[in-house]
């Protein structure tokens, strides 16, 4: 009896993740098929860009501004010790452009829009609205999933651009108003050390994060089971999974996009 239970337990430990990965890959495949076979619905994509992106602008701007401000504030002391205060602007700009801008925007959008996507699609699943789409011969992947994935992927770079700019501005305000730096000291070195590739790298990252958020949230919502509790679980899982995947993807993207010059 004990051996059987142990075998059951070990079996379920192996089968459960395999099933999840299999389902996710199937979802990926079905989405890809729908994307290839059908004409994109631009109206729906723009609608999702508005819901996911434009409506997240306020929180992104606030987050970016204060992230840049606190970064300048905390870094100033270190630079001051060896007289490198004039590099503060460069540090804030590079950090916001390469890392904090894309990652913080990704996490903010996950919390605001990713959860909403999972909850909306999850509710549609449990109230049979997705089945209804099927019976009406409307492909749910084309109707629900693709506009969200394409919309999130396209709008995230724009949103991140705002976070980057506001972060640099936040650092500027703190540096010039509270830390005694002149505007020239803050800005001069930024243009010297930040190049277009840094900005492009940050924007590519954010596009990948947008794709991850929408993909995971749609997947979790689409596979919701049970009632209201199921929707709650799907929403929580979508936020947790997206956040973790963003952090992991950020590391690998940083390696690929920026590398480390020896």
């Amino acid at each position: 009896m004990m051996i059987t239970r142990a075998a059951d337990w070990i079996g379920s430990l192996v089968i459960s993740p395999c099933t999840s990965i299999g389902r996710f890959m199937l979802f990926f495949y079905q989405t890809m098929c729908a994307l290839m076979r059908t004409k994109p619905k631009y109206g729906k994509i723009f609608e999702q860009m508005n819901v996911i992106g434009i409506q997240s602008l306020t929180i992104t701007v606030i987050t970016g501004t204060f992230a840049g401000a606190v970064l300048a504030y905390q870094s100033f002391d270190g630079f001051h010790r060896f007289g490198g205060e004039q590099l503060l602007g460069t540090l804030v700009a590079l950090t916001m452009i390469r890392e904090l801008g894309p990652v913080l925007t990704g996490l903010m959008v996950t919390g605001r829009a990713g959860s909403s996507i999972a909850a909306e699609i999850g509710t549609m699943r449990i109230s049979e609205q997705i089945d209804a789409l099927d019976t009406l011969r409307i492909n749910p992947f084309q109707y629900l999933i693709i506009p969200r994935i394409v919309g999130a992927t396209c709008i995230m770079p724009f949103l991140t651009l705002f976070a980057m700019i506001m972060g640099i501005c936040g650092g500027y305000v703190v540096s010039t108003m509270f830390l005694g730096l002149s505007p020239e000291e803050y800005t001069t070195h930024i243009s010297e050390h930040v190049d277009l590739l840094d900005i492009m790298g940050g924007l590519v990252k954010s596009a990948v994060f947008g794709c991850i958020i929408a993909w995971v949230s749609c997947y979790k919502g689409f596979n919701t089971v049970g009632g209201a509790r199921g929707v709650g679980i799907a929403t929580t899982q979508s936020v947790v999974s997206s956040s973790i995947l963003i952090i992991i993807a950020n590391y690998f993207l940083a390696m690929v996009l920026f590398g480390v010059s020896s």
Partner: protein
């Protein structure tokens, strides 16, 4: 027209349908009755292909639903009215009913007359056109669901507990609507229901019990049957009659 042969479906360790075999006559209304949890809705979803059975065959005009690769060929013939209407709550009634055509990029002004025609079929006026589902009563939502299903002119209509949650007046309206449409459009209707008032409108009744069809026959025969299972279900008795002579059906 619709034939189910030894249809089995398992969830976990439980066989929800455990060898259902049934021939559903064409151009008639067949009602599937049974207690909650007997798998009636699951059976209905298997007929349209939303759920795949573990084994068995489901034939619609000779086509095996379980083996069809493109389900759209089934959805073209068969309409499904969901228990809670399943209207898309972010869309207006016009958009809900006209959705299949809107998705084909047909202009709204071209769709409008068709939507109005379908609304009239379910006794709804144009006033509801630009309202959202949440602004309508449960009965009206179900009628909109019915109108939406009629958009692609199906030959077969499947109704999943169409009167659940409705008051007796609205339930009767829905029943009469189903019956009149079935006669007017020559539909084959399959209704899953708990509501025994449906017997007035049904041509055939099947009792689903313990995962199989225990009884099938004409509605009047089923209503007057001396069979303990049918008698108990129709009269809403929790326990089986103590003896075979205990009950006296009188309808």
């Amino acid at each position: 027209m619709i034939e189910l042969i030894n249809v089995k479906k398992r969830f976990g360790n439980r066989w929800v349908t455990n060898g259902v075999s049934l021939k559903i006559p064409r151009n008639n209304m067949t009602v599937i009755i049974g207690r909650s949890g007997e798998g009636k809705s699951i059976l209905l979803k298997q007929i349209i292909g939303l759920i795949k059975p573990n084994c068995g065959q489901i034939l619609i005009d000779g086509t095996d639903v379980t083996k069809v690769r493109n389900r759209d060929t089934i959805f073209e013939k068969v309409g499904y009215v969901f228990q809670a209407a399943a209207l898309l709550d972010s869309l207006t009634i016009f958009e809900n009913i006209g959705l299949p055509l809107l998705e084909k990029n047909i202009k709204p002004h071209e769709i409008l007359p068709i939507v109005k025609e379908k609304l009239a079929l379910v006794n709804l006026t144009e006033e509801v056109l630009y309202k959202f589902p949440v602004e309508l009563s449960g009965g009206m939502q179900k009628r909109v669901g019915l109108a939406r299903t009629l958009m692609h002119n199906p030959q077969v209509m499947l109704y999943d507990e169409p009167t659940t949650g409705l008051d007796p007046v609205n339930a009767r309206i829905i029943h009469e609507l189903m019956s009149s449409m079935q006669k007017k459009l020559g539909l084959t209707s399959v209704v899953v229901s708990h509501d025994i008032d449906i017997f007035q409108y049904a041509n055939y009744v099947a009792l689903l019990q313990e995962g199989v069809v225990k009884h099938f026959g004409e509605a009047s025969q089923v209503w007057n049957s001396n069979n303990p299972d049918l008698y108990r279900f129709i009269r809403g008795l929790a326990q089986k009659p103590p003896t075979h002579t205990w009950y006296q059906p009188s309808v």
